[in-house]
Structure formats: structure tokens, C-alpha cells
């Protein structure tokens, strides 16, 4: 813990609404303690703006411990900033240097229209989930949990994928605004498990095709995984593609064609 402070120059994207024109506004951020988090730095700036009678900057945030997936902005062109495996709320100001200029923008993707300033609408991610990102198990119908054996490494692999927090950094970081990392993480979380087999190929086909309605195409840049605060692996995209190809055969056969 240190008592140091930073003086910074911020260039923040301001935009009134989805259809208004936006632009950068410059604000000084002075005497920012290095122990503050990035979002606490924005809190301080907003307090100053309010004091000066200026409308504060809207930015997405909630849990501030890296798990809810609400926060996320482009920091100097990078989703969640330069630190690996770190959501915006877990990025601390000691990672910056006195005198830095920091450019802060909302997630950039056609699928994520700007709501206001740094806040975007990520509901396209929910549209992908609602067509197949689940196991149909109505309440009360479950057998005893230990009747189904799940090998430890299978549960671990599923958990690696299930760790996704749905922040959308993968889409924002991708030059094509593709949704593959998010979608494949959910598909693998469920397809890996014995419980997920009954709906495996229906799920895969419907989720992939819904994803394609909203998001761009994947061209294997790998920026998604680089930006991911939970380091979700690119492998899941390969697993998804494999299951998607299979689904085209399996789902047809089941349809009797």
C-alpha cells in the first residue's frame, strides 16, 4: 500500500443515446491514489463533474470484484485494459504512470448498441442463451444427484467453460465482433456433461445460428481469449465447431430426412 497519487488526462466517450452522435471529451483526473481501482478513479472524476455542475459519465459496474460481468470498457483500445485476466473493476491505478493519457470507450460492436456514454446493450448474449443455453430439467424432476457419475476431469473442463462471466469483452476485442468465445463456452459447459447429452446437437445448432444473427464471423484472431478476464480457452470454439458440423447430420437424421 502506498500513498502515491497520479495526475492523468482522460479522453472519455460521451454519447447521449443510441441514435445520438458521440464524441470524446477530455477531463483531468488529478490526485488519483494508486490504490484506487479504475472504476473508483471514474467515481472520483464523476464527483468532480457533479461539483462543477456537469452531468456525470455513465459507466457499467456493479459487484467490483470481477464476477458479475457488468463492467467493461475499452481502455486505450483494449477491452478491460492492458492487464491479463483482469476485469475493469479489478484493474488498479498503480498499473498506470503519472502524466498518462487514458482513452476510455464503450465496447465497440454492432451487436452492442450504446445506451449512453460507456454503457452498451448486451442483450444479444441473452438471445443466444434462451434458444439452447440450458438443460431442460423442470424443478422437482431431478434424480438423486449421485445417481449420475461425472468424472472429475469432465466436471473440471465443464467448469473451465462455465467460468465465463458474460461481460462481452470477447466480442468487443474481436476485429469482427464475433460471439464465438461466449457461445462456445456455454455450449461446452453443457455439452461436456452427461446431463447435457439429450439436447446436445439441438442446442449447438440453435445457439450457433442465433449467434450468427447478431454477431460477426470468427476468423481465428484469438483476441477474444486474450481479452477475456476469465481466460476462457479458444479450444471451446473448436469443440463448438465440431459439434455444429455433427449437428447438421444428427439433427437431420432425427428429423427423418
Amino acid at each position: 500500500m502506498s500513498e502515491e497519487t497520479l495526475n492523468l488526462k482522460l479522453r472519455i466517450w460521451r454519447q447521449d443515446g443510441p441514435s445520438s452522435k458521440g464524441g470524446f471529451a477530455e477531463y483531468p483526473a488529478n490526485n488519483i491514489p494508486t490504490d484506487a481501482s479504475f472504476l473508483e478513479m471514474l467515481d472520483v472524476v464523476n464527483e468532480q463533474l457533479i461539483e462543477q455542475g456537469e452531468v456525470p459519465v455513465e459507466f457499467p459496474h456493479d459487484c467490483r470484484e470481477g464476477i458479475c460481468g457488468t463492467c467493461g470498457v475499452m481502455i486505450n483500445g483494449r477491452a478491460h485494459g492492458q492487464e491479463k485476466a483482469t476485469a475493469t473493476c479489478q484493474l488498479h491505478m498503480r498499473k498506470f504512470t503519472d502524466g498518462d493519457t487514458i482513452e476510455i470507450e464503450p465496447w465497440r460492436a454492432a451487436a452492442f448498441p450504446v445506451v449512453k456514454d460507456l454503457v452498451v446493450d448486451r442483450s444479444a448474449l441473452d438471445r443466444v442463451i434462451e434458444v439452447g443455453g440450458f438443460i431442460s430439467a423442470p424443478t422437482g424432476s431431478a434424480p438423486d444427484a449421485n445417481e449420475m457419475l461425472i468424472p472429475k476431469d469432465v466436471a473440471e473442463s465443464s467448469m473451465d467453460a462455465a467460468a465465463c462471466i458474460g461481460c462481452g469483452a470477447c466480442v468487443a476485442a474481436c476485429p469482427n465482433s464475433a460471439g464465438q468465445l461466449f457461445t462456445s463456452a456455454k455450449i461446452w459447459h453443457l455439452n461436456a456433461m452427461p446431463q447435457g447429452q439429450a439436447e446436445r446437437y439441438k442446442r449447438t445448432e440453435e445457439m450457433v445460428e442465433t449467434m450468427e444473427q447478431y454477431f460477426g464471423s470468427c476468423t481465428n484472431h484469438g483476441e477474444c481469449s486474450e481479452a477475456c478476464p476469465k481466460e476462457i480457452s479458444l479450444d471451446f470454439i473448436a469443440y463448438m465447431n465440431r459439434d455444429y458440423v455433427k449437428s447438421k447430420v444428427k439433427n437431420r437424421r432425427l428429423a427423418g430426412q
Binding site: 473508483e40 457488468t70 440450458f134
Partner: protein, 639 residues
């Protein structure tokens, strides 16, 4: 003071729930679609309830102020979820989980509710496993368990350190399946700002669309609040920034009694605040106390680095005071002792507001690799936040507000004192008494949503078959909409000088200082006066900028703080009225010779439920007497 009817069914405790389910009226499957249920909040309780209602065939509308249901703060729970499965064959049972939970709550919870919670806990694990929650497994593929929070059996199921996240995602996915099927209408970025009551029954809610500012009416045959706890009244807490009491509080203002508001839980192992800019506190898993030794320097004027202070000049206060339990005393005892040494001036860190949690001797004993294997994720998190390496220097920790046991009063059916209004999860007061045990919050949220409400709500709805919804142009709706619009515009019109954040921070200081870990009569009376004065200043001097017809976090915040002011005052009144210590509520005037919490079962073995009048008239207290037929009341001791 009147007596409240908890509607606990007759009969032996183990048969109450089964009998009650049979005695409850049913709604014919074909008729369920004729009823509309509004579910507010989409955390564990809300998502699980909304999904289950829709599966049963009810028409459901779900509301969340987040951009998607998956963001609710249930997601941040780390440790695990209890269930009386007894898979490890170590002597657990429904009765033992029930017993431990009543005792852990310091004998201030309702036996029948807690028994039901323990009973359905086993079904929760089955349900979640079937949904694909990736619980930890043994090599043979069976579910893994661990002991948690000092429990003497291993009954906690977990998914790494992200159990809350995985359970919430399971419930969220069940909910989204129903949304995809068209069975649930989902309203995101919609904040409930009023409960609409007609002829004494809940008939709908009024919300503000946080994106457009539109104030909207929604009618339902029943309203279910799953809107979480009120820990953010302390300003600094482990809650998410947007957690608030507004939905529950607005219901309280419409007649729902608010129970035991003074029961708040302080978690002992959080990272201390570093300065005024601090926006929240981060919890470090309690498991750290298994290997860390807690101490402060013996001298108040100590300036040396921790490493340079010789053993003889260190005060291992928990080990000295509680030789049997040492650093593993329960949460409330560990927290209060940390406060005592810091208040006496022995605190460490630049602000002298923490105590050391030192791993040096554990590293010496078992090696750095072992400590790394056990806690590396926590050590990384600590270093990320503080910039200090806990392998080299001791961690600094201090207690922080974590969970609130109080909430809307509900009967055995989880119905509030307003017919047709239900409360579930942390929003109600029901199952944890005066102190919640670790790994019990996730269990309660899902029990309420998956397995309790789906049965009990039918009993209320069945006789209403054929009854139309109250039209949203009825005066009860239009008046409420007018009031909410006026309140929203009112914040913009005050045009004061200080931000909503300023008032929240100042309120938090009062609540923490006087209604925090230890309370006494003088402090509580002082708190009431200071809260009132600050509240008055808030309504005259808050500065909310921008417009009401766009996203405007300042408007949202101002409304939530307005409610926190009223809640804080009630917390103080409740703490003042409860002249005993129990669980998380510690009255300086009521302690044993050793300084432990001393209950007064003769006068306070009851739930205090408070009835609203208006902002300037103190609430009236109603009591629900607690009867203990299956659990023996004892004084806790950890010496």
C-alpha cells in the same frame, strides 16, 4: 403491540411441511395460465421462482434493474451450499442441519421454517446437478463435500470458489429457457419503485425503465419480491454497488412489516478500506483463518514493519483469549475482537484500521507450495487490490458488512403482512435468526424459489379463479405513477450542492459507527438524531444532474439513498429496542463477564416486526413469539 400469526402448521416438526403441502389448495393445471405472477429480482430466489412458476404453467413477468438476470449479487458467493445429503457418511441428517442452523442463528429463528429449509436442501442439490451445475467431484465421479464455517460435518457442496456464480447461472438458464418459450416476460433495466395495493391486497407494481425513464404499471394476481438484502446501508460493504433496499422498503411503506432490521452480519476477513475514494470492500474467504494467525503489535506506537517486530511484542489476541478455538472462533466473535483492538489504537496499516493475518508460521510449517496450493487465488486477489505480497508481508484484514438477516416479515407461506405479496431469499427475514451460518444463504434462496413458493402461492391464488387483474388505469395505479414521477423529477429540482454519493458515504459512517459491530443506548440514540439531520439535509441539498428520460445513475442512486435513510433509522430503533445481545446484534449493555453476547430469552425470544406510519412517525412494533420445541436454548462458548 399485537401478536403476529406465523401460520405454522400443527403436528410434529418433521411432518409439518408434508402435511401443509397436502392441506394447501391447488390450482388446476389448465387454470394456472389464468394467473399472472410478478417476480421482482432475478438472483437465486427470483430466477428459481420465476422459472418454476412458468414451468408449472403460470403467466410470469420477471423484473431486474440489471441489463441481464445473470448479474444479481448471488453471483459473488464463494464458499458453497449446505445440504443434508450425508454423502460422506459422517453423521449428518436433516435434523442436524436444522439444529445447527437454529443454534447458529442464536435461537432467534422460527423452528418450522428452518426445518423445512433443511428438508428441501437435499432436493436443491439434485435439481442443480440435473441442470448442469459443475459441482466439484471426487475421482470416482461422485459429488465432493467439504466442511465449512466450523461445521462438524462435511455437508457443503461447491464449484471451485464460485459456487454462487454457478448456482445463479443454473437458475438463470432455467429462467431464460422459459423466456425463450414465451412463458416468462422479462423486463431488464426495470426498477420497482412502488407496490400497488387495492383493498388491502397486492395487485401490481410500478417500475421505472432505467433506459428511457418511463414510469410503467404492471398488474398481477400476486407479487414476489426477491430483491436481496440491505447491507449497502453501511455504504462500505461486500455487496455490489447497486444492491439496495428500495423494492422491499417501498413495500414496507405500503404496509408490509419489516422484521429484525438490526440483525446484520459482519464478516471478519475483508480487506480494510484504504481511503475516502473506496467504494466497496472485498471479502477474502474465511478459510484463510485455518492457516493464518491474527495479531496486532503490543505497542500502539509501533512503527516497524511487521517482520521486524519480535514475537514477544506481538499480541495474538484470539489465541490468547480463546485457547480452544483460537483463530477459528465464529464470525461475530472474530469481528468484535478485531474492532476492540483497533478501537484501542492497536490497528495496523497506514490508517491503523486493520489487523494482521500472518502466514509466516504456516509457510514455515507446511512450506510455501502447500500454502500456495490452498490459497493462491486468494493471495493473488489480495495482491491485486493492495499491491502487497502476502507470502512476504502479513495480510491486513478488517471486518465488513456482508449479509443482512433482517428483512420483510413473512409467514410460513413466505407471504408478507400484505396478502398477495411474498418475499423470498435475503429480502425476507425468515431462516437465519440473528446470525447466518456459512453456505446457508445460497441454500435458502434456492429453497424459497424452487421448492417453497411454488407450493404456497397456489393456496393464495386458487380461490381467486376468474378474478380479473386490476386494470392499470385504475386510480391505485395512476396515483402511484404520479407519485413516482413527482419523486423522480423532485430529485432533479432540488438543485443542491452535494452529490448523492456524498450523502450515502456520510450515512454509512453513522451506521457503521453506531449500528455496526457493537451498539449501546447512547450511540443508538445519537445515531437516530444524526440520521434524521442528515436526511433533512439530503432532501434540501442533494444535487442530481441530467434528465429523467435517459439512463441516469444519479437519479437511481438518490432514490435508493432516500430509502436507506429511513431504513437506517429503523435499524437503530430496533437495536435500541432489543436490549440483549444475540448473534450479529451485540449490545454493550448485555454481555457475559468474558465479553461474549448475552441473550435474554425471557424478554426477547421473539421476532420484532415493524409497521410503517409515515416518515416522521416511528414505526410500531409487533412481536412474533418464538417457541422452541425441538432445540434446547444454550449459551454459546468458545473458550
Amino acid at each position: 403491540m399485537t401478536t403476529l400469526n406465523s401460520k405454522v402448521p400443527e403436528g410434529p416438526i418433521a411432518e409439518k411441511w408434508t402435511k401443509h403441502k397436502f392441506d394447501s389448495k391447488l390450482v388446476n393445471p389448465a387454470n394456472k395460465r389464468k394467473f399472472k405472477i410478478l417476480v421482482v429480482g432475478t438472483g437465486l430466489a427470483g430466477s428459481s421462482a420465476a422459472a418454476t412458476f412458468a414451468e408449472l404453467g403460470y403467466e410470469v413477468e420477471a423484473f431486474t434493474f440489471h441489463d441481464t438476470p445473470r448479474r444479481a449479487h448471488s453471483i459473488a458467493a464463494q464458499g458453497g451450499i449446505n445440504a443434508a445429503k450425508n454423502y460422506p457418511n459422517d453423521g449428518d441428517s436433516v435434523f442436524r442441519l436444522f439444529y445447527d442452523t437454529v443454534k447458529g442463528g442464536d435461537y432467534r429463528s422460527r423452528e418450522a421454517n428452518v426445518y423445512r429449509l433443511a428438508e428441501v436442501s437435499v432436493d436443491i442439490i439434485d435439481q442443480c446437478a440435473a441442470q448442469g451445475v459443475p459441482f466439484a467431484r471426487e475421482y470416482g465421479g461422485l459429488l465432493a463435500n467439504r466442511s465449512f464455517g466450523g461445521a462438524q460435518v462435511s455437508r457443503t457442496f461447491y464449484a471451485r470458489g464460485q459456487t454462487g456464480q454457478q448456482l445463479l447461472i443454473g437458475a438463470y438458464q432455467a429462467l431464460m429457457r422459459q423466456v425463450g418459450l414465451g412463458a416468462v416476460k422479462l423486463h431488464t433495466r426495470s426498477e420497482m419503485l412502488d407496490l400497488v395495493v387495492k383493498d388491502g391486497e397486492a395487485v401490481g407494481i410500478v417500475t421505472r425503465n432505467l433506459t428511457t425513464g418511463a414510469v410503467e404499471s404492471h398488474a398481477g394476481h400476486a407479487v414476489v419480491l426477491c430483491t436481496g438484502g440491505y447491507g449497502n446501508v453501511f455504504y462500505l460493504s461486500t455487496n455490489a454497488m447497486q444492491c439496495n433496499v428500495t423494492a422491499a422498503w417501498r413495500a414496507h411503506r405500503k404496509g408490509a412489516y419489516f422484521a429484525n432490521p438490526s440483525y446484520t452480519q459482519i464478516h471478519p476477513t475483508c480487506i480494510p478500506a484504504s481511503d475516502e475514494f473506496q467504494s466497496k470492500l472485498t471479502l477474502m474467504s474465511e478459510s484463510l483463518r485455518n492457516d493464518g494467525r491474527i495479531w496486532v503489535p503490543r505497542s500502539r506506537d509501533e512503527t516497524r514493519r511487521a517482520r521486524d517486530i519480535p514475537e514477544a511484542e506481538r499480541y495474538y489476541y484470539l489465541e490468547e483469549k480463546y485457547p480452544a478455538f483460537g483463530n477459528l472462533v465464529p464470525r461475530d466473535v472474530a469481528s468484535r475482537n478485531a474492532k476492540t483492538v483497533v478501537d484501542q489504537g492497536f490497528g495496523v496499516g497506514p490508517l491503523k484500521n486493520g489487523v494482521y493475518l500472518d502466514f509466516a508460521s504456516a509457510i514455515e510449517r507446511v512450506g510455501k507450495d502447500t500454502i500456495e496450493a490452498r490459497y493462491s487465488n486468494l493471495f493473488e486477489m489480495y495482491e491485486r487490490i493492495t499491491g502487497e505480497n502476502p507470502y512476504e508481508v502479513p495480510m491486513r484484514i478488517y471486518p465488513a458488512t456482508h449479509y443482512t438477516m433482517g428483512g420483510l416479515w413473512v409467514d410460513y407461506n413466505l407471504m408478507t403482512t400484505i396478502p398477495g405479496l411474498y418475499a423470498a431469499g435475503e429480502a425476507n427475514f425468515s431462516d437465519h435468526g440473528a446470525n447466518r451460518l456459512g453456505a446457508s444463504a445460497l441454500m435458502q434462496g434456492l429453497a424459497d424459489g424452487y421448492f417453497v413458493l411454488p407450493y404456497t402461492i397456489g393456496d393464495y391464488l386458487a380461490p381467486k379463479l376468474g378474478q380479473d387483474l386490476v386494470p392499470t388505469d385504475d386510480p391505485v395505479f395512476t396515483e402511484s405513477v404520479q407519485n413516482i414521477k413527482a419523486m423522480t423529477q423532485g430529485f432533479l429540482d432540488i438543485n443542491g450542492t452535494k452529490s448523492p454519493e456524498h450523502f450515502h458515504r456520510e450515512l454509512g459512517k453513522i451506521v457503521w459507527n453506531y449500528i455496526g459491530m457493537a451498539r449501546d443506548q447512547n450511540g443508538l440514540e445519537k445515531a437516530i438524531n444524526e440520521i434524521r439531520a442528515l436526511r433533512e439535509e439530503f432532501w434540501k441539498d442533494v444535487r442530481v444532474l441530467g434528465n429523467a428520460d435517459t439512463l441516469n445513475a444519479s437519479i437511481e442512486k438518490a432514490g435508493r439513498i432516500a430509502d436507506f435513510f429511513e431504513l437506517a433509522e429503523l435499524m437503530a430503533r430496533d437495536a435500541l429496542d432489543r436490549n440483549e445481545s444475540c448473534g450479529g446484534h451485540f449490545r454493550e449493555e448485555s454481555q457475559t463477564e468474558e465479553g461474549e453476547a448475552l441473550r435474554d430469552d425471557e424478554n426477547y425470544a421473539h421476532v420484532s416486526a415493524w409497521e410503517w406510519h409515515d416518515a416522521d412517525t416511528p414505526q410500531t412494533k409487533h412481536a412474533e413469539e418464538l417457541e422452541f420445541e425441538n432445540v434446547k436454548l444454550t449459551q454459546r462458548s468458545y473458550k
